[in-house]
């Protein structure tokens, strides 16, 4: 988070390389005889400190884009750089390390491990960190406190509400101090009240300097972001700056 001091500014005019830099990337899947062009010559830059919502109907390519940004997949053609690294040139191990260090994932279904307490859930990414931090437990506790779950360290997923589970997942995503928080429909499995709570947490984290990329198909969730990118048929059809709703001023935050 060191280079995220420019928080709040959607597109800082610095000359530093973007956190995500995509130049003419395409992703083609082959299904039997057919080829599906999930992404078609897309170019995109996301800079440190941004809060971006990626939107689009299903099949628009937004999920494919998210997999690429998350270094879970590589483009068929074009160049995609994450944190200055051309991911097509990374080995499987280097991609794993990149995900470990640079990206924190948040999923719709939380993806917590069963029968594992919150503290250990959050420590999971540290188990794969190189070098291993010696204070893993302390780091994990700190992140759980950050998402206001300092009193739930020993709780298993079953003992936690949906919102709490998602906050554990967010703490897990944050534990290795990544530059990018990548959330895939993070409120999809939550009721509207809890969704709001989670979205406010994302806003706060973004204010603290972390880059947030959110994939959603819900307009009111996307409204929290400061920039909105709309996909359709594998192409970006809209890329606009949003005012970015100040926390206190958000209509539902005042309820």
């Amino acid at each position: 988070m060191s280079d995220a001091s420019t928080s709040g500014a959607p597109r800082p005019a610095s000359g530093a390389p973007p956190l995500i830099g995509a130049r003419g990337i395409s992703k083609v899947y082959r299904m039997g005889d057919q080829t599906v062009r999930a992404l078609d010559d897309v170019s995109l830059e996301i800079r440190s400190g941004e809060f971006v919502a990626i939107m689009g109907p299903s099949g628009s390519g937004k999920s494919t884009m998210m997999n690429l940004i998350g270094a879970l997949d590589v483009p068929t053609s074009g160049v995609l750089e994450i944190d200055g690294r051309d991911i097509a040139k990374q080995s499987s191990d280097e991609l794993a390390d990149l995900r470990n260090r640079t990206i924190g994932f948040v999923f719709q279904q939380f993806n917590l491990l069963p029968r594992t307490d919150a503290l250990r859930q959050v420590m999971l990414p540290l188990a794969y960190a190189r070098p291993r931090p010696t204070n893993a437990e302390e780091l994990a506790r700190h992140r759980l406190e950050q998402v206001e779950l300092g009193n739930r360290l020993d709780h298993h997923p079953r003992q936690l509400s949906g919102g709490q589970q998602q906050r554990v997942a967010i703490a897990r995503a944050l534990v290795n101090a990544p530059k990018l928080l990548l959330a895939d429909e993070p409120t999809g499995a939550l009721d509207s009240r809890t969704s709001e709570e989670i979205m406010r947490l994302f806003c706060r984290l973004n204010d603290e300097g972390i880059t947030v990329v959110l994939v959603t198909h819900e307009m009111d969730v996307a409204a929290y972001a400061k920039r909105r990118i709309m996909f359709r048929d594998g192409k970006i059809i809209e890329d606009i700056a949003q005012p970015g709703v100040p926390l206190a001023a958000h209509p539902r935050a005042a309820e």
Binding site: L72, R99, R101, F107, Y128
Partner: protein, 411 residues
């Protein structure tokens, strides 16, 4: 991710499906168990055979009267010319490398001491008998050559006889016992030999000078004056027993005037050789057990592979998550490999315990020493671990090469 952490995760995963885990390891349990039984039984039997060979005396040959054949019909043992003092003397004089030689004229009789009596086996032997059989007199002394020649009424008794006749704690030495109403003075008590390979008590015995025993005590009507029953010879360690055996056979044929081509009416036997043949039969059994354990381990290994494949499928999402948060392929591979090995080692542990119990029961009922060695346990556990690595590798590799995107999306 370090191995200890992988091990903890593995234990957690196995505990989650405890019954399934135990059932899965059944093959490993049986495999490892039979390794333990195999080694314990094999070693126990071998040490027992060694003990028996030692009890028979090593480097010894026995010359036994055979049966005469009249018109192709066997007349039974002892129906031929008896083995005599002359035969003994000839062997001592003409066969090189004889260390000690003795006759053994056996029978059985009731022995009386005061108001106690005991029926036991009575043997007339030469003074060198104790050297031939490497059988020490524990208490007292052996009889001398002169005492043997003069037919002194002296007795050296076995442990069991001492216990039966002198169980009241009195020292047997110097005491008088009566055998067929003839008084003998006990001058020695033999060290214990235990059971023979045929289950008889070798300590239930009395040794008398052969001259004192012959006729009166262990004689049958047909026993001629200088019959000595059978001969036991002990040779120098550097004597080739097969050659010595041949030399004795030749000498005996000559002395008994057996025509070339005619059948021998005596045998020269090497009992140690006979025992070794029995050991060979035992090792066949050991190989059978080894085959059983190998097959069990293979079948068990396939069970492990099967359950690990199920586990990988069930936990695809978890694998996807681990990859997303930075787990390398190697980390995933190691995790599942450690899990398979842990499963096998747990099975191995149970197998060692069950095998130990079976080996204990077998050894106890066969009255062998119980030999469950550290090495056997180590070998068995290593075999279990190797099974885990071999059969766990394929499922672990499948987990490691999952596509993280598909894995994360799986239900």
């Amino acid at each position: 991710m370090n191995p200890l952490e992988s091990f903890k995760i593995a234990l957690l995963a196995l505990r989650t499906n405890l019954l399934r885990s135990i059932l899965t390891t059944l093959g490993i349990i049986i495999g490892v168990g039979s390794v333990i039984v195999m080694v314990a039984v094999g070693a126990g039997a071998r040490s027992e055979v060694d003990r028996q060979i030692a009890a028979l005396g090593s480097q010894t040959l026995n010359v036994i009267p055979g049966s005469s054949r009249v018109m192709g019909r066997s007349g039974g043992s002892g129906t031929t010319l008896p083995i005599s003092e002359g035969d003994l003397k000839a062997i001592r004089d003409k066969i090189p490398g004889v260390v000690a030689i003795s006759g053994l004229l056996g029978g059985s009789a009731q022995v009386v001491r005061g108001n106690t009596n005991w029926t036991t086996s009575i043997n007339g032997v030469h003074d060198e008998f104790f050297t031939v059989r490497e059988w020490q007199v524990l208490d007292g002394r052996e009889f001398t050559k002169d005492e043997m020649r003069s037919g002194a009424r002296l007795a050296v008794i076995g442990q069991t006889v001492a216990l039966k006749l002198f169980g009241d704690g009195a020292s047997p030495l110097g005491q008088t016992i009566r055998i067929k109403n003839v008084p003998f003075t006990v001058i020695g008590v033999l060290g214990p030999k235990g059971q023979s390979s045929f289950g008889s008590d070798q300590d239930d015995v009395i040794m008398l000078p052969i001259t004192a025993a012959r006729g009166r005590i262990v004689g049958r009507s047909q026993v001629v004056n200088d019959s000595i029953g059978r001969i036991q010879v002990k040779f120098d360690d550097d004597v080739n027993l097969a050659e010595a055996q041949e030399a004795i056979e030749q000498l005996m044929r000559q002395r008994r005037r057996i025509q070339p081509g005619a059948e021998d009416d005596f045998f020269v036997r090497n009992f140690a050789e006979f025992m070794r043949a029995r050991t060979a039969a035992l090792s066949t059994m050991t190989w059978l057990l080894a085959a059983t354990s190998a097959i069990s381990l293979i079948v068990g290994g396939i069970g492990i592979m099967n359950i690990m494949l199920v586990s990988v499928t069930e936990r695809t999402r978890e694998i996807g998550l681990r990859m997303a948060v930075g787990g390398r392929r190697r980390d995933i591979l190691m995790q599942f490999l450690v899990e398979a090995v842990t499963l096998c080692l747990l099975g191995g542990l149970i197998g060692v315990m069950l095998g130990g119990i079976v080996a204990f029961i077998v050894a106890t009922s066969a009255q062998w020493p119980i030999l469950i060695s550290k090495e056997a346990i180590l070998v068995a556990m290593a075999a279990a671990a190797a099974t885990g690595i071999f059969f766990g590798f394929f499922p672990a590799r499948r987990a490691a090469y999952l596509n993280p995107i598909d894995a994360l999306r799986s239900e």
